[in-house]
Subunit: 475 residues, 3 copies
């Protein structure tokens, strides 16, 4: 017999009655606040007038979610059997029957228990899709039918869900050369959903990439600037930032393995850059160039006011076999030790005191929280700490974050929650975890008399709603 | 007046009543399951027909237990006074009177309070040896007499304790050249205790060791293969693995300071190896050779199916004075930072997707849990995470482990408990701590509604019994 | 309407009733014990016969407290507006009106909620200064008046507060060339407050400092030894240590970025040292020299019995702009990764077994607790672990410390609490946090039956009072 989700109103809260009562009071004060989502990876096409909606239940919950299928893979199941598309487009061996994919998902769903994904999916099944039973081998097809029907209904079209989720603003992440035509189209469509772009220039800064020249050509075209040297390159970037800003962007985003920052002299930069256009560049040059460009991005942020987001420390595509067959973002990105204190010093010494600059720091190396991130955020006016990212975006991960950073950095130096997700239907689930952890953690502080309930209610509102709007200038 | 042990049935559980009730229900469902011990260092001679039993109370609980005497040493007491034998065999200054050793132990026993050893010893005194009082200066000799008598009784002979402990299988750890004659003798003795060997080739891989040539000679003899170059060396290793497997071994074990993995070309390997036989090798060559040999061991595991266990990150014999006087394993092994993501990448990219391969990872650097180990285990099908090892094998250590890895890696990617002990009588005590932590942690998850009680009962059984059997292919 | 402090007797304790009852029993047994403060940075002049007392409320609580004003700075407020003096002595732009400074402090006081400073200030306002209301924009001037009057009263003169705080001994920290004339004067004044110096030779070891020659000249004069080479330098240091010891000093203190230890040959040392006197030295020489000098300091401690304190891992003056304008100690010291195992090995192998040697280790890198510090302290007789330092000197920071080190190192290898503060009125507040965390943590251990209440009462007394006296040889 299939089992039902048990998701009581006091879930995720510590069991002590007196503390839990406070947690519930705090939670009730924030649970219905609008969702502010200043950084994420939802595809804007979902909301265009030609949107194809969410597809099948497998399209919705399995095929695009590497959080989920990586765990099945780790238990010896094959990505092919979950319909993960091959990099070369070939369908050989790739399961095309979404019912079969769904059945496998349900057969193995129990393996996810106690993971962050399990609690997100619980929320999505129960509260978004209205499915009361926990998927298993027996009920798989019935649940498939139920979801499949719902996804075809008007109620479950993306724009309607966006409204139902009470999303006040949703930022996508877009390449530096992106035309933002989808954003433009959405804007002009008359629909009131506020979807803004964010400027992510990684691909035009990665000088060792085999596609570098092509990427620069795209940037040239987009900016309408003939990029022939470092100066024109910088001008093109500045121009694109202006365009993004005019389209509503409030932030830029930068992923690097090592957050080294530095400054190179102009002739050296020019030499590296023009050689790179000819396909000649070394790893050492890439590192130096990346360090300099982070500084340049900080300088531009001081000028145009866009919030600079830094996501360092992930070694991408660790598993070559999977990368060769299925490409990027398949669950094989593994964190490495990240050092902020020395690496960011050049950038911070130059721009960290600038009142126009906001640098939002993220990490997958939580073993920097109390040592580096909290002391840096507790001093530099430019720094705000993003919430626990990726693998740490979970109940325990967030709890450790609050325990480790707040005594040093305070709560005013946090950015509030960032969902950073590709999975649109998981957004309310993820924000709900944050709201619950914030409530539980503040209740812990109240029950130990560090603050009182009035403080907690104010701080919860700030952490859930006011702070992300203010940090990202979404006022 | 001497004090008594207070070890209530609900010990180690969080005090909240509702959560504790769940913890007790879970604990009662697993407390009497058989003990599966797939990795440890108990001397098999203990179970041979010529076993001399456990000796005196000091032989049982003090002299062989560096967890205990290192703490007395840290407080200014001398190892000599606890009868720790000298490396050179000399008895000069070494206390020979076990009653005096025992008295010192009891005089200072209070220093152990709040350590992991204190809770293991509490269990051993109360539940294994039937001693109700906590050792102190007054009751020391009385307790000595009591234990001494018991250790002579048939009930306390090793084979009988093995049965009483309900050990389903116990793995020893054995050198690559070991004849395994004791294992053979035990097998043939008619006693049903299941004691299996594990293949540990460290000494025949450490090319800078002054004994390297001797170790290779022993390997040659044991394998019946004339080792003259890298090829014959590899053949000898393969042959020994086959022999170990035929004797019931299911795993290999590898201790390295740095878990670097790599691949060297054959001529280079041959050069390094043949030079090493002549006593000519450098630290750099040792590092490169070790990296390659980890890859070779993974390759062989893919072929023969033996689980590969990796125990990296311990700097042995940190205190030269103690090493010179007393030798290895005297409590002066100190952990160092361990890096898995980059170091294991070459090995994992080659073998990490192989369905025949299991790599069980251990660490004494817990500051890799959420950053490296959980993401790796949550992706590669070959990886399983061993439980908290050595200094982290404790109530808080285990609790942090579950909090840090499960949301990313899930519970199915853990190996279950490994006691890794030399101290046979501590085995039930150590497994009991695991069972209690598992129960408490799952109760925490139930009381916060992440899972329900039915899930918890299933997962507890898996973590205590099913998982170590399945990961180590123990039937 | 202004709000009042809520500081119940059971604050900071976990909410479970049964555990809290135990915590309260433990706390009541230690709350009134005298304060032992073996390391800190209070200015001894405060207690001289010419003491100017505490000045205004802003002089007392804001201007000297970089824990507080760094947080306002991090939120975009200017240090100038809090009256922080400029390095060059100029008063340009620096607020001189302490009432305005106080108003700004009160206006922004809410930003400190949940930080360690907030709980210290709560204690100081309520229990030391007798202020019931939480500072805010409305009550700021009233509170200013109230405190201002009190600070002029005899009751609030430093010596009287010292007595009221029940400080048994207070150590200052003093340069190697300091005449200790204030200490002498206090001693001779007839007042019974026990204020002792500590020997901190950092400035005479930093060979790359532009002031190095001057510092050595001061050392020469103070010691009455003409320092012309390494030998005379060592003799001068030994002589100063003797002098400090004769003035009551029981410890030395050493701040280094990296705790590397080593030994250089005498000619090499002499060459480095004499070149440094001429202003010629490199970073590499500085590192080698520092490593050697730590070893020398350990050697001298073995001889004169002074406890060696090591405070590594802080990168000072990270924010160049702030340093240039306001100088050192302005909240811009940021921790870096610290490695103890390999770095301390040379020193420990030579002196770590010496019964006359005590090395008290501190860290701002808590991600060394279980990996390095606990195993080192659980073995070497010389090592004691200082309490969580600086950013980790907080409720959560201390709780993590106990959870991470005690199972391996035991409690007997801890030093007890060290307040390490410049802020004299915060001393009772800081010690009270320690006493509360100790009580809460031991109650946690009792409620889980690791120890019983009798153990907890004994261990609490040790951690609060006996241990710092015994580790620092304070009678």
């Amino acid at each position: 017999m299939s089992r039902k989700w048990i998701l009581p109103e006091d879930r995720f809260f510590d069991p002590d009655d007196s503390q839990k009562k406070i947690a519930l009071e705090i939670y009730h004060s924030v649970k219905d606040l609008p969702i502010v989502s200043p950084h994420g990876h939802v595809d804007p096409k979902l909301f265009s007038k030609d949107s194809e909606g969410f597809g099948t239940p497998a399209d919705l919950l399995i095929i695009p979610d590497h959080y989920v299928f990586r765990l099945f893979y780790s238990q010896g199941l094959r990505l092919e059997d979950f319909g993960i598309p091959r990099r070369d487009g070939s369908k050989e061996e790739i399961e095309q029957d979404h019912r079969k994919i769904w059945q496998r998902f349900a057969d193995n769903f129990h393996m996810l228990r106690t993971t962050a994904s399990y609690s997100w999916l619980a929320y999505e099944f129960k509260f978004i899709l209205g499915i009361d039973e926990i998927p298993d081998s027996d009920n798989a097809q019935e649940i498939y039918d139920d979801i499949y029907e719902k996804l075809k209904s008007p109620e479950f079209q993306p724009r309607n869900l966006f409204d139902r989720f009470q999303i006040e603003v949703l930022s996508t992440t877009d390449g530096a050369a992106d035309s933002l035509s989808i954003h433009q189209e959405i804007k002009e469509s008359g629909w009131k959903g506020n979807i803004i772009p964010a400027f992510r220039p990684d691909s035009v800064m990665n000088i060792t990439s085999p596609n570098f020249k092509q990427e620069i050509d795209k940037l040239s075209n987009a900016a309408g600037i003939d990029i022939i040297d470092f100066k024109t390159y910088i001008r093109a970037l500045e121009s694109r930032r202006q365009f993004f800003k005019s389209m509503g962007a409030v932030s830029t985003d930068h992923a690097v393995v090592c957050p080294m920052t530095s400054e190179l002299p102009e002739p050296e930069l020019n030499r590296i850059f023009t050689n790179a256009l000819k396909g000649e560049s070394t790893e050492a040059e890439q590192a130096a160039f990346s360090g300099h460009m982070l500084n340049e991005m900080a300088r531009m942020s001081c000028e145009d006011g866009m919030v600079m987001q830094l996501h360092p420390g992930v070694l991408r595509n660790h598993n070559h076999m999977i990368y060769d067959r299925f490409g990027a973002d398949k669950g094989c990105d593994i964190p490495v030790t990240t050092e902020f204190t020395r690496n960011l010093q050049p950038l911070l010494s130059k721009f960290g005191n600038n009142p126009r600059f906001t640098l939002c720091l993220f990490t997958v190396d939580e073993y920097t929280y109390s040592r580096e991130l909290a002391p840096l955020a507790g001093h530099y006016p430019a720094i705000r700490l993003g919430p626990p990212w990726w693998f740490n975006d979970s109940w325990n991960g967030m709890t450790r974050f609050f325990d480790s950073v707040t005594e040093t950095a305070g709560l005013y130096n946090l950015s509030g929650f960032i969902d950073d997700t590709r999975a649109f239907p998981s957004i309310p689930a993820r924000h709900d975890v944050w709201r619950r952890v914030v409530s539980n953690w503040l209740a812990k502080m109240v029950s130990r008399s560090f603050i009182d309930t009035q403080d907690a209610l104010d701080l919860a509102n700030m952490l859930v709603y006011r702070q992300p709007k203010s940090v990202y200038k979404l006022g």
